[in-house]
Symmetry: C2
Subunit: 106 residues, 2 copies
Amino acid sequence: MDNSISKIQGAITRNSELFEELASLYKIFGDASRVKILCALTQSEMCVSEISAFLSISQSAVSHQLRILKTSNLVKTRRDGKNIIYSLTDEHIKTIIDCGMEHIAG
Amino acid sequence: MDNSISKIQGAITRNSELFEELASLYKIFGDASRVKILCALTQSEMCVSEISAFLSISQSAVSHQLRILKTSNLVKTRRDGKNIIYSLTDEHIKTIIDCGMEHIAG
DNA sequence: TAAACATATGAACAATTGCTCATATAAGCA
DNA sequence: TGCTTATATGAGCAATTGTTCATATGTTTA
């Protein structure tokens, strides 16, 4: 193995945890329901029943997905009466979606 | 559901296939071995045994992962004697990795 | 307070994933 | 031509995933 490749190996091996984290992030975007939810939330905050309605999947399934998104800090919530309103924690999430969309388009 | 949300619903429902495709793309990045391979290839083209060595995973496992990357057109190959040399199909892949890394760092 | 509505959660299950093992294919070399 | 090296591939398996179903929690309203 030549020297430049062993440098790459070193860099990646040393930062193995970082790549685990990166993979975990992408794994979350790797489901159509979740990425649709995230994309919708780039446009407007929404409550669970609204999300459930437009995705045509059950309230329970949406809640499970939202929990994943919340646990990984991609969305935050606030209560409004009976509803829980979900929104993105940061604008950077839109950048990630756009980045992937560009790849598909290109 | 208010009018602005039904517009979002429309946009997402109409482009459902696009989101499936987007999710499929991210799913590929959602594995630490694969994202390490892709990251390494942003620095230099490499053959299978080199990748296997630096990831410390078996040749067979690497081959399986490379097949996934090739099938989804993220990497391309050329033969050099006994070796098959893998490289990225396009520079945009680095952008996607950087984009995710920024999110983690931020 | 009781009924209705909105959301969350645990168990269970089928589908998918990423690996290993064994083996096939293909090129270089004695 | 046989032997070795490099890579690919199929079967099988354990682990993970995304859903459904049933039910729990929490809020509003009559």
